[in-house]
Amino acid sequence: MNRKILNQFNHLAVPLGLVVILGVLAAMRAPQTFTYVGLAGAVLIAAPLILAAMAITPIAIAGRGGVDLSIGPMIGFVNVTIVVWLGALEITNPFAVFAFAIGLACLWQFLLAMIIIYVRISPIIASLAGYMILQGVNLVILPRPGGFAPDWLGDWGWGTELLGPVLYILIAACAFWFVFQRTPMFQHIRLMGADERTAYTSGVNIVAARIAAHLVAGVFAGLAALCLTGMIGSGDPSQGNTLTLQAITALVLGGTSLSGGKGGVTGSILGAVAMYLVFVVLSSFNFGAISGYMTQLSYGLMLVLSLLISLLTTQSRPRTA
């Protein structure tokens, strides 16, 4: 047990260290971040990315080099359909909107899982095709940013109350993962990710395991879409797209390996928080026209460095085919 905790800590050491260092930097450069209102704003802005990074984690753990490239456009898809479709039907009941968002995201993930399992093409190609399809479909549904989110959802965007719905969603998502992590299904997914052949020969139902991984991802992605819609208060066909690369960056910073079988959402959350803190720290400097590029440069360097550190801490060998 002790050893297990130590191992757990080992793979979280890098993201945790990053968050602490960046947190101290942010506290020095931008102390207003750690006031009550500052934290409320931070939770609001970081929530879509945190949930998106959580969403792609079970898929990465499930192996086959599975990284869901379609996650960003898919969150955008739920966003524009809440605004356009539900807006046209005048459905504003919170339960209905929640059910719609999570249901739609799960449906998409289920479709993706079906393609990966039965068409048997590599997950990255399936999700790449999904990225391109949804990116276009979003623009067809809503050609330019606009529309209104349901009032109660749009009110989230004020971001002045820390103890608000966005924080509760994050807590609920973590609780959901905490419970899921204790199910045998999670162990099956991890075993499948680490070695699919072994899992299959040991009698693990790999079809069910892969579908489960994708459905869990769908739940998180649906929540991410709700938080995004609440944050911007309207529909935006392209805002979601940028989430793909950011979520993958957060995932890798958090120490989840794309080769499968390793990692968890704790790392992904820390990764996403680290990315938000980088943004805070960099915007506290007066870089003017180049501040966007500084952010890009730091994300890139963080990504490369965290990969290289993970190489040093874990004894991974080159893949043998």
Partner: protein
């Protein structure tokens, strides 16, 4: 097995040759044939349904755009042959584009500037290769990180002390823009030289892949790394050189796009992020490594470019084109790049 191998009876030898031929037909050739048929059907349907599709002007613009995509996808094909993926290509294209525009604005001779950028591109590629060698399963993330860093650094470098961010204005030499301008002339003939360059590079590459030990080494490593190392092929060298070539071709594409557009713009590479992968995959190179080739990618590039032109002719915008591309990838890959069922992998 004993050595020397005893003479076999002629019938079994012929049977094995026949099965070899059948094998060739079933794997790489199949995707190539499907691609060519698809291309022919597309051209046929497009010429009938879109006025002016079958014109020299349109053919010229398709070929010109295909040359850019073809050169960018060249490196991606080689990398995919050994089982990797290079997502830094769009960023190298964008960075080369603005850096060359920047260098044209200084007193450095244009030819030297082009050389510097090409070397830089190759160096970035080599860096990708060296760093990702131990992280092969995560090569796409690593190249993405390098790409982010590069494009960020290039923009910081070029916008220092200028208030225009993302774009660089300078005078592009006429001889250089002629290479990739739509009305460029090749030795008096009415198509831009970049098309000829692409054709020559393709011919050399395809010949080299099939008739050279180093070319075959790509497939050896892509298919079976253990076997390749027994043949004393250095996996490291092959891996790093494919990425180096990828960085080089991406930077060349970025420079040629500067000649095409006339002004440096860092976002010029963005459409190439997934399109190079799509071209490789539609052509029939499996991302798992060991199969396909650049000939297949050429077909894939032409399919995508003809399809783009057709969809534009039908009045579809960029968004709808992307959707069609996505819808095209799935069945194409399902036709020839399906993994065997897990029960046959044990």
């Amino acid at each position: 097995m004993e050595w020397p191998i005893p003479l076999e009876n002629p019938e079994t030898t012929m049977a094995s040759q026949a099965s070899l031929r059948k094998n060739l037909l079933s794997s790489d050739r199949k995707s190539l044939i499907i691609g060519i048929v698809l291309l022919a059907v597309l051209i046929g349907v497009a010429s009938m349904s879109v006025d002016g599709f079958a014109s020299t002007n349109n053919a010229r613009s398709i070929l010109l755009l295909a040359s850019f995509l073809g050169l960018a996808a060249l490196g991606q094909t080689l990398v995919a042959t050994v089982g990797g993926l290079d997502l830094s290509i769009p960023f190298v294209i964008g960075a080369s584009n603005i850096l060359l525009a920047y260098l044209f604005g200084t007193s450095i001779p244009p030819a030297l500037g082009i050389f510097i950028i090409a070397v830089l591109g190759a160096a970035i590629g080599a860096l990708n290769g060296v760093l990702s060698y131990r992280l092969q399963g995560q090569a796409l993330i690593l190249t993405l990180g390098i790409g982010f860093s590069l494009v960020g650094a290039a923009q910081i470098f070029t916008t220092f002390g200028s208030q225009y961010s993302g774009t660089v204005f300078s005078q592009v030499p006429a001889w250089f823009s002629n290479i990739s301008a739509i009305n460029g002339k090749t030795l008096g003939m009415p198509f831009p030289p970049v098309v000829l360059i692409w054709a020559v590079v393709s011919a050399i590459l395809i010949f080299w892949i099939h008739h050279n030990r180093a070319g075959r080494a790509l497939y050896a490593v892509g298919n079976n790394r253990t076997a390749a190392s027994v043949l004393s092929i250095s996996e490291f060298k092959v891996w790093v050189s494919t990425y180096t070539v990828s960085g080089l071709t991406a930077s060349i594409t970025g420079m040629l796009l500067l000649g095409f557009s006339g002004g440096g713009f860092v976002g010029v590479g963005d459409p190439y992020l997934f399109t190079t992968v799509a071209a490789v995959v539609v052509g029939g190179t499996s991302l798992l490594g060991g199969s396909g080739g650049y000939g297949a990618t050429i077909v894939g590039v032409l399919v995508l470019q003809v399809l783009t032109s057709f969809l534009v002719g039908l009045g579809l915008n960029y968004a709808a084109q992307q959707t069609v591309f996505g819808l095209l990838i799935l069945p194409m890959v399902a036709l020839y790049a399906r993994a065997p069922h897990i029960r046959y992998q044990i």
